[in-house]
């Protein structure tokens, strides 16, 4: 076991953190509970939320803290109250610990004091709780809708237990969207970016308020493709099935989500995963990181018109994709991770395949980096652009390469070792410049580290089972599962339920934490760089759907048949 890993798994260290919090807020704390080796839950009154959460996050000595996730749950059937829990992780050299600050909110007075003024990173979480559960954050600086569409009626909260998952409230399709965007500052024009924009991978909307080409202010909007996965997971699916839906949250970092979910359930159900399975999980996670980072570096090149770099990066990525296909049967959405282990073993021929591909990748990627960094025009475009300061990075609780490019020293693989990372040795690349180039370099170095991790893992992989047997998971246990996805820490929080079903499942993808920081990175840059800055944050995809026609009058959704589709396309192209 590596030296640092030993240090941070030390229980004493963990208890010291918790006891400091407990000492300080003695009178306000109602309950302290340890629910997994590195997860504590502290229950307080809702009035004290900003103070306690703010204290831990802005603690002067624990530098690399962040708001990992915040979950509102409708616990009325059980306790007659709503619950909310703020999960704060303490990273870096400081230690390996998740502290959940839990509070209950009565049904008749669904309000709580907002944490956002103390820590802006809570902005989205609190708006989401308001949208989906009807818990109102008081004193929130930006009380606009976040998740729900414009035509969703007021007072209908989809995540409450009395809202059935097949329900569809009557919606008014006739009106065009009237989202209350910020008024443009005086003398500025609006530069709308998305949701349909060539360079955006995801249907997000940025509203750049520009003076000529200079970005003065930014407003944004997301959740065009909100799919209500959490609700499905809580109602329709069994634990095992959820795992596969979790994998499909993201087209790029599916394994990270599946793994985070599986680990959450494993933590709640105290399932021991065989060591070989942990190694295989690690290798899969790193393969995923390889292809994701190569994709992002390629796209960064593409966004500035450097197609040689783009094509070369994608060609390298193609090898990784091919490898993934041979290992798991698919290029993405590997379907490897299940609760208790993995589904496919690394047979001998697969091992040699990995070794070969990794060796080639190592050589070629080094060449790619040299070539790209020697392209002056590319470096010129990336240098000094989209600077996110360390302070802003911390303020918004950013994660992953986006945070590490701004000098934040955090990486869930090292700080909260999961899977086989505790047995392996690797570096966490950190750049302090905070610009696009720094983020690209972080990714480039992480690719090399990933290669090194895979090499180690293949060397050290033990024999044995790959799947642990598990029977039943005790109901109403809470746990968080976390992984370091390519874009940063992914956190899944579960409350287990009865009948092989989840009671509450909360997904927090890494982009969720990174996104609100983008306006800070974009202000003061030019329109030309906007797309590059967005790409350098590496936002997550949503998968597209088939063509559906929504009849604006009746609100019915109809899927087109072949004939109609052909007819429609013909009409569109002939301009009739």
């Amino acid at each position: 076991m590596k030296e640092w890993a030993r240090k941070i798994t030390d229980d004493e260290v963990r208890e010291r953190y918790v006891s400091e919090v407990v000492e300080r807020f003695k009178d306000k704390i109602m309950r302290v509970e340890r629910n997994a080796s590195n997860q504590w839950i502290i229950e307080i009154n809702r009035e004290d939320l900003p103070e306690v959460v703010g204290y831990i996050i802005n603690h002067p000595e624990w530098k690399e803290t962040q708001l990992s996730t915040m979950v509102g749950a409708d616990e009325r059937p059980r306790r007659g109250k709503f619950s909310m829990i703020y999960w704060i992780s303490i990273n870096g050299e400081s230690g390996d610990i998740f502290i959940g600050i839990k509070t209950y909110i009565p049904e008749d007075d669904p309000k709580f004091p907002a944490v956002t003024p103390v820590h802006p990173g809570a902005n989205w979480y609190e708006r989401e709780v308001k949208d989906l559960l009807g818990l109102v954050p008081e004193g929130h600086p930006d009380p606009r809708r976040l998740v729900l569409p414009d035509d969703w009626p007021e007072g209908v909260y989809p995540l409450r237990k009395d809202f059935h998952y097949t329900d569809s409230p009557k919606r008014d399709f006739t009106d065009e969207t009237k989202y209350p965007y910020k008024e443009p500052p005086k003398g500025t024009a609006v530069f709308p970016l998305g949701p349909y924009h060539v360079a955006l991978d995801e249907p997000g909307h940025f509203r750049l308020y520009v003076k000529g080409e200079e970005i003065v202010d930014v407003d944004y909007r997301l959740f065009y493709q909100h799919r209500g996965i959490e609700k499905i997971g809580e109602n329709r699916l069994t634990y095992d099935q959820v795992n596969f839906i979790a994998e499909r949250i993201c087209g790029i970092c599916g394994t990270a989500h599946a793994l985070a979910y599986a680990q959450a359930i494993e933590a709640a159900g105290e399932i021991d995963v065989p060591e070989r399975a942990e190694y295989i999980r690690t290798v899969m996670a790193e393969i995923e990181r390889l292809h994701s980072h190569l994709l992002n570096l390629g796209l960064a090149c593409h966004d500035v018109g450097f197609d040689k770099g783009f094509m070369d990066a994608f060609r390298l990525r193609e090898h990784v994709m091919w490898l993934a296909e041979r290992l798991t049967g698919n290029r993405k959405t590997y379907g490897m991770v299940v609760i208790g282990g993995v589904r496919r073993d690394f047979l001998e021929y697969r091992r040699s395949m990995i070794e070969r591909v990794i060796r080639e990748l190592k050589e070629n990627f080094q060449k790619w980096v040299d070539q790209t960094l020697s392209t002056k025009t590319f470096v010129k475009r990336c240098e000094g652009i989209g600077i996110l300061s360390y302070k802003d990075a911390k303020r918004w609780s950013t994660v992953g390469p986006f945070a590490r490019g701004s000098g934040r020293d955090l990486d869930a693989r090292r700080d909260h070792p999961f899977a086989a990372y505790k047995y392996l040795d690797f570096k966490v690349p950190i750049y302090k410049e905070g610009d696009v180039l720094a983020r690209c370099l972080v990714r480039a170095e992480e690719i090399l580290e990933s290669i090194w991790i895979i090499e180690q893992a293949l060397d050290e992989i033990p024999g044995g089972d790959i799947l642990a047997e598990w029977r039943e998971i005790p109901p109403y246990r809470e746990a968080v599962g976390f992984t370091e996805a390519p874009r940063g820490e992914d956190v899944h929080y579960v409350i287990t339920g009865e009948g092989n079903r989840l009671y509450r499942w909360r997904i927090r993808a890494s982009t969720y934490n990174n996104f609100p920081a983008l306006p800070d990175a974009m202000r003061g840059n030019t329109v030309a760089d906007a797309v590059l800055i967005i790409a350098s944050m590496d936002p997550c995809y949503s998968c597209t759907e088939r063509v559906q026609v929504v009849d604006a009058k009746s609100g019915k959704v109809r899927v087109l048949t072949e004939k109609e589709l052909t007819e429609l396309s013909r009409k569109a192209s002939r301009g009739v």
């Binding site: 593409h302 500035v304 197609d307 094509m311 025009t377 030309a528 009739v576």
Partner: protein
């Protein structure tokens, strides 16, 4: 005899002007693909693209005449500009022999692009048009110095006459470099393609064009590039063979040399294009201004007769 020669060459010229540019684009795409280690589409792909565009009915964002006529004006100006260049020893339609008229007529392509872009309330098209203008603004003095040097050396501004009259001095060689640079920038090749940047501003003005309007506009832009490069290629290819090229055969020789140089230039440009990222507009202005300040030295050399 004279008449037949003129008609033949003019016919070849018109064919070249109209139908060579897409092929050149296709070849450039193929070369880029090869540089990027791709297979790449067929060299005729650009023809297919243009034909597809031309067969489709456009969707109009406005009924404003300035928007609707812009592609036609661009196309007509690009072709007109290309028609006054020498093909062999023949100029197909000589409404002028003057390089300034050529440049101004060519600039009308950009003006059409700008007017088209600015006739809408759309920040994308506006920004594209705005950038086009700034590039033109910043490259114009460099072009001016190049022409000035040629004028000082050859004592004429007639395109057909400069390559025949120019004497090779240091300043003229540098003027060639300046001309090549300005042709590259004016042609809007990467890293100077900011006005039609796809990822940043959705191809600028083209964002709102569709169907055959877009087809005509793209075609016009290709012809504009062709005209610029043909000018450069004439300037490069005529001087070395001007003494041996006599009569009709000489004209044919010049035409073939021009074509070969054009292909070489295009190939070179394709390689440079694929190896570079797009610059930002402020980078470009700074770069062009720097080139201009350096180019003043060239003008000084030319004034001294070197």
């Amino acid at each position: 005899m004279e008449g037949y020669e003129r008609i033949t060459f003019s016919f070849i010229a018109v064919c070249l002007i109209l139908f060579l540019p897409p092929l050149l684009d296709g070849i450039a795409r193929k070369i880029k693909a090869k540089v990027q280690l791709r297979q790449g589409a067929s060299i005729f792909q650009t023809y297919y693209d243009i034909m597809t565009f031309l067969s489709m009915e456009p969707v109009y964002p406005t009924e404003r005449l300035s928007f609707r006529l812009a592609p036609y004006i661009a196309f007509a100006s690009a072709v007109s500009a290309a028609l006054v260049l020498p093909y062999g020893k023949v100029i197909p339609v000589s409404f002028t022999g003057d390089i300034f008229v050529f440049l101004y007529v060519l600039a009308m392509v950009s003006i059409a692009y700008m007017i088209g872009g600015f006739s809408l309330n759309n920040t994308y098209t506006n920004t594209g048009a705005n950038r086009e203008m700034m590039i033109m603004l910043s490259i114009e003095p460099v072009l001016g110095v190049a022409i000035g040097t040629f004028a000082l050396n050859a004592h004429t501004l007639r395109m057909g006459a400069i390559p025949f009259a120019v004497t090779f001095t240091v300043s003229v060689l540098l003027a060639y470099a300046l001309l090549a640079y300005s042709v590259y920038v004016e042609g809007g090749f990467i890293p100077f393609d900011v006005a039609e940047a796809e990822q940043e501003i959705l191809e600028g003005t083209f964002c709102e064009y569709s169907g055959y309007l877009l087809g005509i506009f793209k075609w016009a832009l290709m012809i504009k590039r062709f005209a610029l490069l043909w000018l450069l290629s004439s300037f490069i290819s005529i001087p070395p063979i001007r003494n041996v090229a006599n009569g009709t055969l000489g004209g044919a020789l010049i035409l073939i040399t021009q074509l070969i140089v054009l292909f070489l230039l295009y190939a070179g440009i394709a390689v440079i294009e694929s190896m570079n990222a797009r610059l930002r507009i402020d980078h470009i202005i700074r770069k062009n201004a720097g080139v201009f300040l350096c180019s003043l030295a060239v003008l000084a050399l030319a004034a001294l007769g070197w």
